[in-house]
Every structure is written in C-alpha cells, then in structure tokens.
Symmetry: C2
Subunit: 98 residues, 2 copies
C-alpha cells in the first residue's frame, strides 16, 4: 500500500477519492465517493494510458475499488481501507488510533 501511495500522481488520485468535501470539512464516511477514470485524471496532465496504469496499481494494492458502469469505469475507496492503513501505522493493539 505504501508503495502504491509513493507516487505523486497515485497519491493525488487516492486523495481525490478520499476527500469528497471541501478541505477541512467532514462528510458522511459511510457512503463511498465514486469517480470515473476520466474525472480522476483531470488536472493531472498525464496520458490516459498512464492514468490507467496508476489506477491499476492502486487497485492491485487494494487501495481502490473499480467497477464498470456503462461506458465509464467507477473508482472508489472503501472506508475499511483507510482503517487498515491507520491501524498498521498505530499498531493493531489499540482500539482506535491516538
């Protein structure tokens, strides 16, 4: 997972999927935010093939989910993924981090 997030483009993609609201605002975490591939690549200035490669890596690392919906492919992050990441950092011993 850390390897997947090590790349600036992939980190930006992942971050875009985890920050649904304006910065500093909390939103309902029970509902996963979905974006299709094209949307995610906006403003990143990379070729579609590169974008596809990065999303594939994020998916392979278990960081994002992907599902076709018509012409598009939707991407989202499961809340469990974030929990798993944080629990690794803080150790599985504590009930909740900090």
């Amino acid at each position: 997972m850390f390897k997947a997030l090590a790349n600036p483009h992939r980190l930006a993609l992942f971050h875009r999927l985890t920050t649904c609201c304006a910065p500093g605002t909390a939103c309902n975490p029970s509902e996963a935010l979905r974006h299709n591939v094209g949307e995610l690549g906006e403003g990143l200035d990379i070729a579609p093939s590169t974008l596809s490669h990065h999303l594939k890596e994020l998916n392979r690392a278990g960081l994002i989910q992907m599902q076709r919906r018509g012409k598009h492919i939707e991407c989202w992050v499961e809340l469990e993924t974030l929990e798993a990441l944080a629990s690794f950092i803080f150790g599985k011993s504590r009930e909740r981090p900090i």
Copy 2:
C-alpha cells in the same frame, strides 16, 4: 513519507522503531523507543552502507530522528510523526480518526 515507507527494508526499520513491545501489546507511547543503527539492521541481511542509506532516507522524509551517542547513532520515531501520517490518511477535518 509514503515514498520512504514504500521500500520493504525501510518499512521494516520503521516498524521496528514503532513496535517496541510484543505484537498486539500496547506500550507507553510518550517515551520514544531508541535503537542504534547496528541493532536496526540485524536480521535484514543488507550491507552497512545500504542500511545507512535507508535510514538517511527515513530521516530525510521526517519519519525518524537520529542523534549520535558515543560510537553509536541512535534512531527513534516521534509520536507526532505517526499522528501526522494518520491524520493525512483520514483527513485533518476529524478530531480523531474513524
């Protein structure tokens, strides 16, 4: 930070510095655990120069602190570092993760 933790050896070094007790056991987080460079490299099967390089990278990323103490150089992880990592993952908006 993610880039620094992307390497298996560096992740192992970092993990060794954050897990002071037996796995699944919580220890006092207010006191930073310290190890010198030689200790950290034990069992990792890498050349001393490689070990040094990795610790330098972890330090450059702000993940570990280093300080000379006699012939050895001590390494440790500040609790703030772990907090910063987790707060990035969950967003700075929430008071506490999850």
